[in-house]
């Protein structure tokens, strides 16, 4: 097909192939006449026209229930029926924390004779309604990132063909596709408040709203926002009104999940021991100063050991100063102890609002004083500007591949693969990055290059004696049963630099070949079948070389690993550490 040929028009068909069909008819009736000359002039603003048509339809149907951009709550289903067309790409704002729950519920109630075959493109499937739309035949295709709470039901619906999954993405990857080939036609977003013009104030949980609204609004899609309240003057404007088409006040405030709150009372001595090994064997060793922590008790234990154990090692001011991290309540003692300089967040955390407001030197806050989070920017920061990611996982295989997928659950990845992968585009040097790079590329003659530290932290057995180390990841079986193009591996083995268990640290950067790598992994796999079948001689040699380091090799006495080392041992201690500014959600208050 030549570059100047007429089928230029045929290539342009974001929705259906009507332009192409017209071209063919013209060519047939025109006989030998030149294709290009007989083609009708191409329409360049179909999306603009489509948008105008939808706005007009909505205005007609809603009548008095629409005032400017403000929609009556009882007209929401009618609005969705006029704004959304069959086969549209729709983004329901589902974040880790904030949920556009009222709009999600409304979408399940549309007439499926009018709205069907939708392609849902959303980062997190958190609510039952997010899957109800598939069960009811309103939507059929799905591209997403994370489905934690709905993982089992998603696997079932995918298994019996009610959902066609395009791909499981990382957040940044899905956001990237919003601007390439998965641009939403309609976005249903959530904000704290709107004014009468339709400007939005998201409050601390800004999360995905900017990226969704931008991708949708600037490709002539429709942005519909649910807000908790309508007010005359917003504290600040997070989304300008000309990106927003409709605003509806939700009958109840949007749901927010306190996903990152971990009760220190639940942290075990083994987790304290592992945290000690992490601090002394990795943080201090590499001088890790810019980092992201995964979610969970393992990393919460590290946060709570900074003001105690890390302080006793003289590490304040040397490690953990700059963070890409949600405002974890368990970070409060480290902040108060002067460990932390700066925290940028993906989203906020319930109960942390007043504490954040009182610490604007640490957190990113607006002129109104409340936090502004942003998942897309924080993911970028975590990928490019951090020297280390450390997080937990469910399964690790002999190549170091790590997965949270288990049979019967399609959980997705969220942000872990962005954090937990070497940023090969990175070009700025830090001590930690260069140190890891020297270990990774020692003596291979290549140009100097750094390396991100990617640490997987697991106890060798999870609860109910489920081994964390396996010969074969469940991800393979899941890929077969759900017909996936790839096994859902969260972090690939060649990105993992260290595996930390209660038995010790395996430094995979120092392994010279795949066999050494396998024995290094077996050598910290404890009493799992994988660990028990280690080559004891090879493991002893790896230990001599410092590839494997046990607690005693690091000068850590296991008997010092007690809960007394935790800077806070309960939620109440965290409240106290915050000077009463942290207000934990009710379910975490047990006093």
């Amino acid at each position: 097909m030549s570059a100047e040929g007429p089928p230029q028009g045929a290539n342009y068909s974001p929705h259906g192939g009507s332009a192409a069909a017209e071209l063919v008819n013209e060519a047939a009736s025109g006989g030998a006449a030149h294709y290009a000359r007989t083609a009708p002039p191409r329409i360049w603003n179909k999306r603009v026209q489509r948008r105008a048509l939808r706005l007009e339809r909505a205005a007609t149907r809603l009548g008095a229930r629409l005032t400017g951009k403000l929609v009556d709550a009882d007209a929401i289903v009618a609005l969705l029926e006029e704004a959304i067309e069959p086969a549209d790409r729709v983004c329901i704002e589902g974040n880790n924390q904030k949920q556009a729950d009222f709009l999600a519920r409304a979408l399940t109630a549309v007439d499926r004779g009018r709205v069907y075959d939708l392609h849902i493109v959303q980062s997190v499937l958190a609510l039952p309604e997010h899957l109800d739309v598939f069960e009811r035949g309103i939507a059929s295709r799905l591209d997403f990132s994370f489905s934690g709470p709905q993982a089992a039901r998603l696997a079932k619906l995918a298994g019996n063909g009610q959902i066609a999954i395009g791909a499981i993405h990382t957040y940044l990857e899905l956001f990237g596709r919003y601007f390439i080939d998965l641009t939403p036609d309609v976005a249903l977003v959530a904000a704290q408040a709107a004014d009468r013009e339709g400007n939005l104030y998201t409050g601390p949980n800004t999360e995905d709203t900017p990226v969704i609204a931008e991708a949708t609004a600037f490709k002539n899609g429709l942005v519909i926002a649910q807000v908790n309240e309508l007010i005359d003057v917003l504290p600040r404007i997070d989304i300008p009104s000309d990106w927003v088409d409709f605003v509806v006040q939700s009958p109840t405030p949007h749901y927010i999940e306190p996903l990152f709150t971990r009760d220190p009372a639940m942290i075990s001595e083994i987790q304290v021991l592992m945290a000690m090994m992490a601090i002394k064997g990795i943080y201090a060793e590499y001088g890790v100063d810019r980092l992201n922590h995964g979610i969970g008790f393992d990393t919460a234990a590290i946060e709570l050991l900074l003001p105690t154990y890390a302080e006793s090692l003289g590490l304040r001011g040397k490690i953990c100063r700059y963070w890409a991290l949600n405002p974890h309540p368990t970070l409060i003692p480290a902040i108060e102890a002067g460990f932390v300089e700066s925290v940028h967040s993906f989203g906020s955390e319930l109960g942390m609002e007043d504490y954040i407001r009182a610490r604007p030197d640490i957190f990113f806050t607006g002129s109104d004083g409340s936090m502004r989070s942003n998942r897309a920017f924080c993911q970028t920061a975590g990928h490019y500007a951090c020297d280390m990611f450390i997080g937990s996982t469910l399964q690790i295989d002999l190549a170091g591949n790590s997965s949270t997928a288990t049979l019967g659950r399609i959980a997705g990845f969220g942000g872990a693969p962005n954090m937990g992968s070497d940023a090969r585009g990175r070009r700025h040097a830090t001590h930690a990055w260069l140190t890891a790079g020297r270990e990774a590329h020692r003596g291979n003659g290549a140009a100097p290059r750094g390396r991100k530290l990617v640490v997987q932290m697991v106890e060798t057995f999870r609860e109910h004696m489920e081994p964390a180390f396996v010969e074969r990841l469940d991800a393979w079986d899941l890929a077969e049963s759900a017909n996936m193009a790839l096994p859902p591996i969260m972090i690939y083995g060649d990105d993992v630099t260290h595996i930390l268990t209660e038995e010790g640290i395996a430094n995979l950067l120092l392994c010279r070949d795949d066999d050494e790598r396998e024995q290094a992994i077996r050598g910290v796999a404890g009493y799992t079948a994988v660990g028990l079948s280690r080559d004891r001689v090879a493991v002893a040699k790896l230990r001599q070389r410092g590839v494997i380091r046990r607690a005693e090799d690091l000068g850590i006495d296991k008997r010092d690993a007690t809960r007394d080392l935790l800077a806070a041992r309960s939620i109440k201690d965290l409240v106290r550490a915050s000077g009463g500014l942290y207000q934990p959600p009710k379910r975490f208050r047990n006093w």
């Binding site: 075990s268 001595e269 083994i270 021991l273 106890e459 060798t460 057995f461 609860e463 109910h464 004696m465 209660e502 038995e503 404890g526 009493y527 028990l532 296991k558 008997r559 690993a561």
Partner: protein, 106 residues
Amino acid sequence: MERLQFRFDGGSRVAAASDACLVGVVASGNLEVLIEPAPQTDACAIEIRTAANGFGDVWQAVMTDFFERHRVGGIRISINDAGATPAIVSLRLDQAIEEFTRRDPA
């Protein structure tokens, strides 16, 4: 509920004057370790009552490693397990033997 017994020979005797020593609690995911002097033998005798069935091989490996670490004899160890992971079992055993030998007047 499963009952397991192990016996290791060749360790050095801990002084008979030692008191019995109890570490840990019988709570979900945890265990209780009791160490008592057994002056009439040189062996390290271990008896385990565990809530989780079918992990005999793992217990064997954990107990063998424990004995290799400390090589103690003349003691009787009783374990009441409520589903602890091997990591917790090893930690409690190390704590208990430390406690036990620290009390040793010798």
